[in-house]
Symmetry: C2
């Protein structure tokens, strides 16, 4: 990929993604795959006025060794410096950037039960920081090619050609391959605004999903729920784009309001392993049965991580003919694959999908129906024939999706 | 370089260098240049019984941006998590491994005055931790090729060939290119022991350095000073090899006991810049005049960093025909170049070069003549014709070095 285009991508991430404010501290979490690009991002952060930029490098093969050799007890608490860093991030309105590049299969062979237990044990330490930071800080996830990831996505190409193809796929999916990516994203964000305004004006109570693959699920929405997409805002009003790319209009449904069955339409990569051709059956809003051709045990573990892990936290609407789906590339990475077509997430919901959340405590937000969990895992359910009907309080039906795409 | 040989090198670092103890925590500081090798090192640490291994990655171009864009104030204090990490290291008897690979010219263009001031400002925060850790923890410095470093050392080779040549040079210099590097180091450590025993039995008061290049310097030794080399021991008696490679027998002279002039015999890379063809003139143990064909201002700044920066902290004896010098490779890196020939260091001395230091406070150690400073910078002074004469209290003269090599 040409350096000039990568600079535009770096600038897009810093300006449109994070929207770094003069004097802010920025944390960048990245693998070791594209150090030159990360260096560009750091420089763009400083040029945008960041006072300090801290890169937190990690290397998946080392993470795997840690997972294998450290005891469950050692993995079950934050180190003092990890805690100090969380505290700093929470107290200093820092921007956080996550640059993904890891191998979807990179953690294969790790004891998932041990890792689940470790996550369960550290979650109470992390939760207060997460809550303190929620909607207060700009953050953004974007991606760069890792060699193993690129080879997984383009197995027939040589390593260097796969990485080049991956750069192209990432930049295309991220609307960052044009002459002026920042302008392209301005238009993209305006489109989101118009669609969300329409949906929020309807006052829907339910979404009814149907597909020939067997999906037949009714999801209850929150009375004060809102659809959103693209730009988000911090409580202080700073706009940012948390996902590059993003194609989804989404809301958080009512935890405990889902009835029926939903079938996956794409494989799910979870904790480095694949779960494929699966279904989840809901009763009273909670998963009561899982089936999977591959990874059923892991799927069962996933939805049992805690009380909220078996309830929906997100409904996302994306036309089946989205650019990512049209490209035909399966990225084995949620950031991209979740933007291919409609999906749900089990696990925690988004406070900002509830009107007036700014003045509520976490307990109130939970009581109002936003799901709470240590996990948030997206899985794809969109199909070419998917129908979604919105149902109002008075029973009136409005076609939202038809033949896999927007009906309005 | 063949993977099998690299595994032997990784094992040498972990077993002979650090001598990791079962249950110990290990910190590995490394650049991004050889992630596969660092992963091997991490695995060897775990195989040796380490309970936790934390890799602290850094990337010189990002460090350079930080140095350029962060304010002096921002650079002048430890972050809370850096402080937490120092505390942990100091309190937990952790092993510390430093894997060097950085570009000798990588920090060119950075404002050295700003960086000096920042180091001066952070030193009081770091000093108590350093003191707490001294001689209590195993540590080791070793090296791997970085691309820019390799091209600097082998400018006529292509990047990939330069890296390969650099691997060979590093492994050869480190006595790690044989079938059994761990055995080779056992013999190497025995040789050191024999030479140090001889020198310590002489009871020398002065070392008198002379060379045709103009060097004419008399250095006063400590009454209770000891020569050492190769293996060191923690206070709890754990043996380790802090430097891979090492060829030096060394001691810390009496701070304030040097008279005359010494000429450099190799360039010095300091804070990413080169100082070349220089001399230091000492009066009453302190530098009173510096001259340099290149980097004179930086040299003057270096010896003025603090009270101890202009006094000697180390005298190291290495034959001029050492393997590293014979190889003819100039590494532009102290770890290697300091093992080419005799050198001094200005700045802090080594407590373990004073008999009975274990029972003394830092103030007592300083009062006994071990130099104290925030810096410790080695510079090469060995020549092919160098003569070093040891002088006893009673005036008796013993030839230690003759024509650049050991006289005994």
């Amino acid at each position: 990929m040409r350096k000039a285009q990568l600079k535009k991508y770096a600038k897009l991430i810093v300006k449109t993604g994070l929207n770094v404010k003069k004097g802010q501290t920025v944390f960048v979490a990245a693998g070791l795959d594209q150090p030159d690009f990360i260096t560009m991002v750091v420089e763009e952060c400083y040029k945008a006025g960041a006072s300090e930029v801290f890169v937190e490098w990690s290397h998946q093969p080392v993470s795997k060794l840690n997972a294998q050799y450290r005891t469950l007890e050692s993995l079950s608490h934050l180190t003092p410096w990890e805690k100090a860093k969380w505290e700093f991030k929470a107290n200093n309105y820092s921007c956080r950037l996550f640059i993904e590049s890891s191998d979807p299969d990179g953690m294969n062979g790790v004891d998932q039960e041990k890792m689940s237990k470790a996550r369960q044990a550290t979650y109470p330490e992390i939760k207060p920081f997460r809550q303190q930071m929620e909607n207060r800080h700009q953050w953004c996830i974007a991606a760069v090619p890792g060699k193993a990831w690129a080879k997984k996505v383009f197995p027939s190409l040589s390593e260097s050609k796969a990485v080049e193809a991956m750069w192209q796929a990432i930049l295309h999916a991220s609307r960052a391959d044009s002459k002026n990516p920042i302008k392209a994203w301005k238009e993209h964000n305006s489109d989101f605004r118009a669609r969300c305004d329409y949906l929020n004006g309807l006052g829907l109570k339910y979404l009814e999903y149907k597909s020939a693959n067997g999906t037949d699920l009714t999801v209850e929405l929150l009375p004060d729920g809102v659809f959103t997409g693209g730009i988000e805002k911090t409580l202080k009003g700073r706009a940012f784009n948390p996902n590059i790319p993003t194609e989804e209009v989404f809301t958080s449904p009512k935890a405990g309001g889902a009835e029926g069955i939903v079938y996956s339409s794409k494989p799910l990569s979870y904790m480095g392993e694949l779960i494929d051709n699966f279904s989840l059956r809901f009763e009273n809003g909670k998963v009561v049965e899982v089936k999977a051709e591959q990874g059923e045990a892991l799927l069962q573990k996933m939805v049992s991580m805690d009380e909220g892990a078996g309830k929906l936290g997100e409904c996302a609407l994306i036309p089946y003919d989205s650019p990512i789906n049209q490209s035909g590339v399966l990225f084995y990475n949620t950031l991209f694959d979740e933007n291919a077509c409609c999906h749900f997430a089990v696990g925690h919901g988004f406070n900002e999908c509830l009107k007036g959340f700014e003045k509520m405590t976490d307990e109130e937000i939970k009581a109002r129906g936003i799901n709470d969990s240590m996990i948030h895992v997206d899985f794809m359910i969109g199909t070419a024939d998917m129908s979604i009907v919105g149902i109002k309080e008075n029973g009136e039906r409005v076609q939202i999706f038809k033949n896999g795409g927007w009906a309005f």
